[in-house]
Amino acid sequence: MNLQSLINGLLLGGVYACVGIGFSLVWGVANVINLTHGALIMWGAYVTFWAYRLGGMDPFLSIPLAMAATAALGYVIQRYLVNYVVKIGVFMTLILTFGLQLVLIDSALFAFTGDYRSVTPSYAGAGFEVGGAIIPYIRIAIFGVGLLLTWLLHLFMTHTKTGNAIRATALNKEAAQLVGVNIGQIYAITFALGAALAGAAGAMLSTLFAVTPVMGNPMLGKSFVIACLGGLGNMWGSLVGGLVLGIAETVGAGLIGPAYQQAISFSLLVLILAIRPEGIVGKRFFAEVKT
């Protein structure tokens, strides 16, 4: 294992951290496995793509735009659809969000066709060198934005009334209700936050991968792994989970072969769930893990 593959793994981990954090948040707080997460990432990427294509907007500058669009979509999904079935049981929300995912992806296929699109700012492909290893600007920028968003989310959760209500709901929703928290509203806000983070991830992914209606599907799978590795609803946990997954995939691909990248990440998922379901840095009490 050389320096370059370690750096590649770390930088890929930064991308994964952005992908996983919103998913983990929604799961941890609202106890909803949001299978629309990948589709929301895709819609965020399309917002950035059209802002770039039509308005010549830099992809990193259109991140807030993508976030706003997916947040609105996410709020509506949770408030007017998912909130009606969360009480019924685990698999209802799974099936519902899967159905919504199909709708979101297929409507993108109708609206934008299945053509591969790309966002290519002038600095795409450029990078700098450190000790013989090449670091692309885009990947380091994504890493930076990921850290920034995680930090902002942390501030929001610890310093605002809404953030405190969200954390209280995650810990114990009955107790939160007793002190006057409107659970339905909190779930919707949390989902909107998760969707906004998905939108941000999508905006940034558009600079790395082709923008297509199905681009979010592999990212949904990664989100499972990142969330379980990091621990649910744990904001810094997603960063840890993303980095571990990024390095495991890069190093594993070097050892066994690049074709096994997906197999490695899903085996890692099954392994972590079997051994330590609360995640690497997670706490047992937080996500109601029982053994």
Partner: protein
């Protein structure tokens, strides 16, 4: 999960259900004449219909059988198993490999495929069945995806190219009829299992686990043992169908048989028919497959969109299954009242 489903999708007693539909209340759960009539129609139909409809019928039987297999885990025991398709894929692949590479006849190959699934379920049972709710769901999805990726990379198994199975030595018409009656027989057997579950000690243990696992354990039910047994049974049933499917289609590849869409469709069928009921999976499969053949099969584009919309509507308006809607006499007032009652 600490909170239990309040009303819908539930099987715990199902106090609101009419006696003829609720399991474990009447002799067969359904009036005997109705069951016999449906069976007679199912047996006679291939003689009067064309090849296309025999295919649709076979598909109904296959998905109903898969939903019955899932019903054991999800309907009776309450475990959100989203990755049961892994046993389907393993059954299909084992059958394909044993018939082509080892030259085994089809029947032992299909049975071996089901047994491979049982072995995997036994292996995964202890570590994974400790997990509950979402964690179990995610873990099973992980197993499914990992299995697909691994098999797609193993050259001996055809890799991403897939495997072509030996052809049936005879007329295609005869072959498709054999497959249909085979799948129908399997479905009948699985329905028998569901009926047995609805009234046996084993089934009672599974339903106790669904209602409250701690309480079940306190009452002296060896929960871990029962859960693993249930998963083995479910794996065997799913794997058998997978093997038949491989022989039916003559060609399989990893994305085709390890497809999460199969899981979701089977779930939808089980929910439509009513989870944890004996005949629900059959009703659900008939409704969904006929809808698919008549409505969105007609569209070249957009059938995924329609499927997504159907899923959304089913989950929102009939979380307790189609029969619950019939029970409410399709009254919008009652349906909306239930919807509002479930809102948080």
């Amino acid at each position: 999960m600490t909170d239990h489903p309040p009303s819908a999708a539930g099987t715990r007693g199902d106090a609101a259900a009419p006696a003829w539909w609720a399991p474990a209340r009447t002799a067969l759960g359904v009036p005997v004449p109705l069951a016999l009539a449906v069976l007679a129609v199912a047996l006679a139909l291939p003689a009067v219909t064309s090849g296309y409809w025999v295919r649709v019928l076979s598909s109904i039987c296959m998905f109903a059988a898969m939903a019955q297999s899932l019903n054991i885990m999800a309907g009776f025991m309450g475990y959100a198993d989203f990755g049961n398709t892994v046993f389907f894929g393993l059954g299909a692949y084992t059958t394909a490999v044993l018939t082509t590479k080892a030259g085994l006849p089809v029947v032992p190959a299909v049975v071996a495929g089901a047994l491979v699934g049982v072995a995997l379920a036994s292996l995964m049972g202890l570590p994974l069945l400790r997990l509950r709710g979402h964690y179990f769901a995610i873990a099973t999805i992980g197993v499914l995806e990992a299995a697909r990726e691994i098999i797609a990379n193993v050259g001996l198994l055809g890799g991403g190219l897939g495997i072509t199975l030996p052809l049936f030595p005879g007329a295609p018409e005869v072959f498709y009829r054999i497959i249909y009656y085979l799948l129908l027989g399997v479905l009948l057997a699985y329905t028998g299992i569901a009926w047995w579950l609805s009234r046996s000690k084993f089934g009672y243990a599974l339903r106790a686990i669904k209602a409250d696992e701690e309480a079940a354990a306190v009452m002296g039910i060896a929960t871990t043992r029962y859960k693993i047994r249930a998963w083995r049974l479910s794996a065997f049933c799913t794997g058998l169908v997978g093997g038949i499917y491989a022989y039916w289609l003559n060609f399989i590849e990893p994305p085709m048989v390890f497809d999460i869409m199969i899981s979701v469709k089977v779930w939808l069928i089980m929910l439509l028919g009513g989870a944890g009921t004996v005949f629900g999976p059959i009703a659900g499969a008939i409704i969904l497959e006929v809808l698919q053949a008549l409505i969105w099969g007609q569209f070249l584009r957009g059938h995924v969109l329609i499927l997504g919309a159907v899923i959304t509507l089913v989950v929102l308006f009939m979380p307790a299954g189609f029969m619950d809607l019939v029970r409410k006499r399709f009254s919008p007032r009652l349906i909306l009242a239930d919807l509002r009652a479930n809102k948080i």
